[in-house]
């Protein structure tokens, strides 16, 4: 049996999520664009990116960045963590050669009217200290070892 690895009761406002640093390569960018079915040339054609977009290189696409944020959150929660909502604010691009660093903190926690426990997170991905995308997220976590947010449906799931 797969037991929950993180219960809501173990989380406190102000807790920091483990930092994730990742060196971005051209392969990271192209693989991410194709995985997200984003065929636009600024995500795989450096000549186009530089001469048509005016950027210094190809850059990570937004849908793939969403996948990076999801991975960062569920690395922390384990499989019982169920995303309720995420909000992204794009501030700058991430290029091959950058080391992107994800950091997150817990900003709030509670139980909704249906009994579903949740935590709110502030997350950022930065390069050399400059935030490139900020994200707020709310994720449901089990209240007990026998609770499973994924079992909630209909009126019992109010994200």
């Amino acid at each position: 049996m797969t037991a929950p690895t993180l219960l809501r009761g173990a989380v406190t406002v102000g807790d920091a999520l483990p930092e994730l640093a990742y060196p971005v390569t051209a392969t990271t960018v192209v693989l991410g664009a194709l995985a997200a079915r984003d065929w636009r040339p600024m995500h795989h054609d450096k000549d186009f990116a530089v001469h048509r977009n005016g950027t210094r290189d190809i850059f990570l696409n937004t849908p793939n960045l969403a996948s990076w944020f999801e991975r960062y959150i569920t690395d922390w929660t384990g499989p019982y963590g169920r995303l309720q909502r995420v909000t992204f604010r794009m501030l700058g691009s991430i290029f091959p050669g950058d080391t992107m660093v994800f950091r997150g903190t817990v900003t709030d926690t509670g139980v909704d009217d249906t009994g579903c426990g949740w935590v709110a997170l502030d997350i950022s991905v930065s390069v050399d200290g400059d935030t490139k995308t900020s994200c707020t997220a709310r994720v449901a976590l089990p209240e007990t070892e026998h609770d499973n947010p994924w079992s909630r449906t209909g009126d019992r799931w109010t994200p």
Binding site: R71, T74, P79
Partner: protein, 175 residues
């Protein structure tokens, strides 16, 4: 695809537009490719026993919801595909605002998306602001929702985009 002028806005608020079904069913291969691209080792997506136990069978990463609607780069017998956020471009054209930025994007997740699902989407204009002036220029903010349902009619996700269409400072006043 038709331009949305300011007189059209009130009649379009809350109205579903551009309904379409994804070109292909949600499929496991893309789930693995996406997880691989971000080194996501969540066992929900790699271990069928964990998926059976926790989510009642395989699911797709929730943040992939828009992936299932990006059209093939080429397909036979297809005219030019619609833009993913067509209402945004209709507003730009109809309001005479040549520049635009997306300031933020929220996704709310409902029922899980599962391999084999055929998702349906529609776009809904939620609001258009009065004329505002920002550092970028003068224009209007708007909010567009994109709803996603599965083949059983269950809501699986809603994306909300806040856009700002504008004219750069010094150019002709926004209409």
């Amino acid at each position: 695809m038709s331009a949305i002028g300011i007189d059209d806005v009130e009649g379009l608020l809350g109205v579903g537009q551009y309904e379409e079904v994804g070109e292909f069913p949600v499929e496991q291969g893309y789930i693995w490719t996406t997880c691989s691209s971000v080194e996501n080792g969540n066992p929900l997506f790699w271990d069928p026993e964990v998926a059976d136990e926790v989510t009642g069978g395989p699911i797709a990463p929730p943040t992939m919801v828009s992936v299932w609607f990006r059209p093939h780069h080429w397909a036979p017998d297809r005219s030019t595909p619609g833009l993913p956020l067509q209402i945004h471009f209709d507003l730009k054209e109809g309001l005479g605002l040549p520049e635009a930025v997306m300031s933020d994007n929220t996704i709310v997740f409902h029922e899980p998306v599962r391999p084999g699902d055929r998702l349906r989407t529609r776009q809904i204009l939620r609001s258009v602001s009065d004329v505002k002036t920002t550092k970028l220029g003068t224009g209007r903010f708007w909010v567009i929702d994109v709803e996603y349902h599965n083949q059983r009619g269950d809501l699986v996700a809603v994306e909300s985009y806040t856009g700002f269409g504008y004219r750069r400072a010094g150019s002709e006043e926004a209409s």
